[in-house]
Symmetry: C2
Subunit: 219 residues, 2 copies
């Protein structure tokens, strides 16, 4: 069962409202398939949009970065931010230029991020981040030491005010355009992985792990 929530005036999808989705289940499926978000914050009246990785655990998004980064400096004081995740599914070629579109799934989360300072919670957030991006990797890698933990800032954004927007399916043309003599349809798009490239200084005998050999974002 999907748990639908009332959008706020800020998250209500204005344009093409039939594409707006407000249930957590759908939004979380999109958030779990993606792993790079675009974070918006404001500094001196100027908006900035920065790509960064993220992880989800329950009703929270986690992001991390160097304590020295502009992004982290501006987010950690509880300023309002916007986290947007977009998955591209296809180019939609209609008969009319005007009706061209894209198939996509996106989620927008508005809120204020807080710095995760409690060491066990911070370590767990880093595990969530690693496992979100490539499940299985955390256990195989050298764990963070104290110095690294100090250099890393972790932010938590509660998923409270959010909306999703989805377009799927074929082009939708005006009725009189269906006789227009051009090809129309969808060119599907997908993020795919290539053959893993082993580091030149690998310890002898290390094989490509399954999670890297068959990496996929399908969830």
């Amino acid at each position: 069962m999907s748990q639908s929530e009332m959008p706020t005036a800020r998250t209500c999808v204005v344009r093409e409202p039939h594409r707006g989705v407000y249930d957590r289940e759908t939004a979380y499926r999109i958030l779990d398939e993606g792993f790079v978000c675009h974070v918006g914050f404001v500094a001196d009246g100027q908006p900035y949009v920065i790509p960064t990785s993220y992880g989800r655990s329950g009703d929270n998004l986690y992001m991390h970065g160097s304590v020295a980064s502009r992004l982290l400096r501006h987010m950690k004081d509880g300023a309002p931010i916007c986290v947007t995740v977009t998955l591209l599914d296809g180019l939609v070629l209609a008969r009319a230029v005007f009706n061209h579109s894209m198939n996509y799934r996106s989620v927008v989360v508005l809120g204020k991020a807080t710095l995760v300072e409690d060491p066990p919670e911070k370590l767990e957030a880093l595990r969530v981040l690693a496992e979100h991006i490539i499940p299985g990797r955390w256990a195989d890698a050298r764990q963070p030491n104290e110095r690294e933990m100090k250099q890393t800032a972790v932010l938590k954004l509660p998923i409270e005010e959010f909306s999703a927007k989805i377009r799927t399916g074929p082009p939708i043309d005006d009725e009189e355009d269906y006789s227009f003599p051009t090809w129309a349809g969808v060119v599907p798009l997908r993020l795919t992985m290539g053959e893993p490239i082993a580091d030149a200084r690998l310890v002898a005998g290390q094989k490509v792990p399954e999670y890297a050999r068959h990496y996929t974002r399908a969830r």
Copy 2:
């Protein structure tokens, strides 16, 4: 020859400054390979980040949308915006959790967008947008009529204040970690196309055009 420009305090890459790139040639190559940007704008102190398609012509980015959209409503009055384009190239698996990274190329453009109102310039901007996303399509599709032109808002953002950030290559671990017994390397990622899906109401005899059959973003 690449034309390098001085970054401003706002576009100077703070974190990992060796990854900052400020020449137009590099930035334009990234902008031309991408076709979806994330636009940041501020409304009532809240930043919003919205995915949208774009096109580049010379030193300008063009975006379009319904005159009814929130994005367009907030951008057309010359408010400061940020347009970010990110291309994902790979997951970088290091020995240490801390040194995990991604290979990517991104461009950030700061500035103020203006509404394109002159009809010939507006039509040309729509052509630039269509051809940026799928070269060859414009000529094959039914051209915009007067009603559609009125419903569409086109925005122009001059590419003046910008920076690019690029990470390529293998993981970089601390020297003492190279003996850590785990696989390390890069999982390449790429946006790929699937088999075009013809619309169910296609006029008889329409074949998939070359630009849709062999769609690629490589430029």
